[in-house]
């Protein structure tokens, strides 16, 4: 059966090129996911009525975070991927962005900078 696969070269059968059809363990019900996403969008829009800046930030970024996790986990099938993928797409990216923020913050927001006219 493997030999019929046009992507498999003789002698190199151990190389996985094309996913077998039963690659995924299952599919989430995408309809529930999209409904949840839209509900979160509506919640984040409620921020117009929120005056407290902390609550606003929490609400807006909290919903964005939950939305992104829903998209990554379900639409992008992250929950079926091996650890390696998690490391490169999540931990590494997060580490780098946090490092960037951490390294630049004292230079940008803890110093006095003037916008002198020319």
């Amino acid at each position: 059966m493997e030999a019929k696969n046009p992507y498999v070269k003789p002698g190199l059968e151990h190389e996985v090129v094309v996913p077998p059809a039963d690659d995924y363990h299952g599919h989430p019900n995408y309809l529930y996911v999209i409904i949840a996403l839209i509900a979160l969008l509506v919640i984040s829009l409620l921020s117009d009525f929120v005056t407290s800046i902390i609550l606003l930030g929490l609400l807006v970024f909290g919903t964005a975070l939950v939305k992104s996790i829903l998209v990554i986990r379900n639409f992008m099938h992250w929950k079926y991927e091996p650890l390696f993928i998690w490391i490169i797409t999540f931990f590494a990216v997060l580490f780098i962005l946090l490092a960037l923020f951490w390294g630049m913050y004292p230079d940008f927001d803890l110093v006095k900078v003037e916008l002198a006219p020319k």
């Binding site: 995408y30 999209i34 969008l41 992104s68 998209v71 639409f75 992008m76 630049m104």
Partner: protein, 198 residues
Amino acid sequence: MQSTTVSLRRVPQGRLALWLLIAGELIIFGSAIVVYLLLRLRYPEWGAEAAKTHLSLGAFNTLVLLVSSYFAAKAHEASLKKLKGKVLRYLSLTVLCGLIFLGVKSYEYTEKISHGYTFTSPKLVEAGQGAAALFWSFYYFLTGLHALHVLVGLIAIGFIMYYVKNNKHFHRVELVALYWHMVDLIWIFLFPLLYIMQ
């Protein structure tokens, strides 16, 4: 199947490459967003500028992108069973959503530009509000870069639809769907940063 001794081989090479590409893209966008955040914290007056963006249009665009992502996921599901008609239908819906997104975006741009909030906003600079002008530079930079990715995604989907039509490369539907979800993901963060945080 000869040897799949190493668990990583479970990931076929196309998807692996796409994940690596996504990691790279997320860092590019992420660092632009980090820069935006740092300056946002420095200039409280950016809140007033953010209030001038069109919240309802932004929200509508978010909705459109979320729905398009849903269609892309459905197309992927159908592609595994090689249901050609279904894949094509869902992919065209995705493209439609992408086009609506770009249309709304360009309407927003023209509206903003007609009010004098351009890439460089010379009016604001002359009025001594250089920092406010910088907000608009960031607005166009971030959304423009994102729109560019939407455009690239649309072209890629076009190619994939052509392949699927010829009953080829069904597994590539998944790759383009992954890319499309990434575009969606970036917008999920851009929307609150540019539109909501006033």
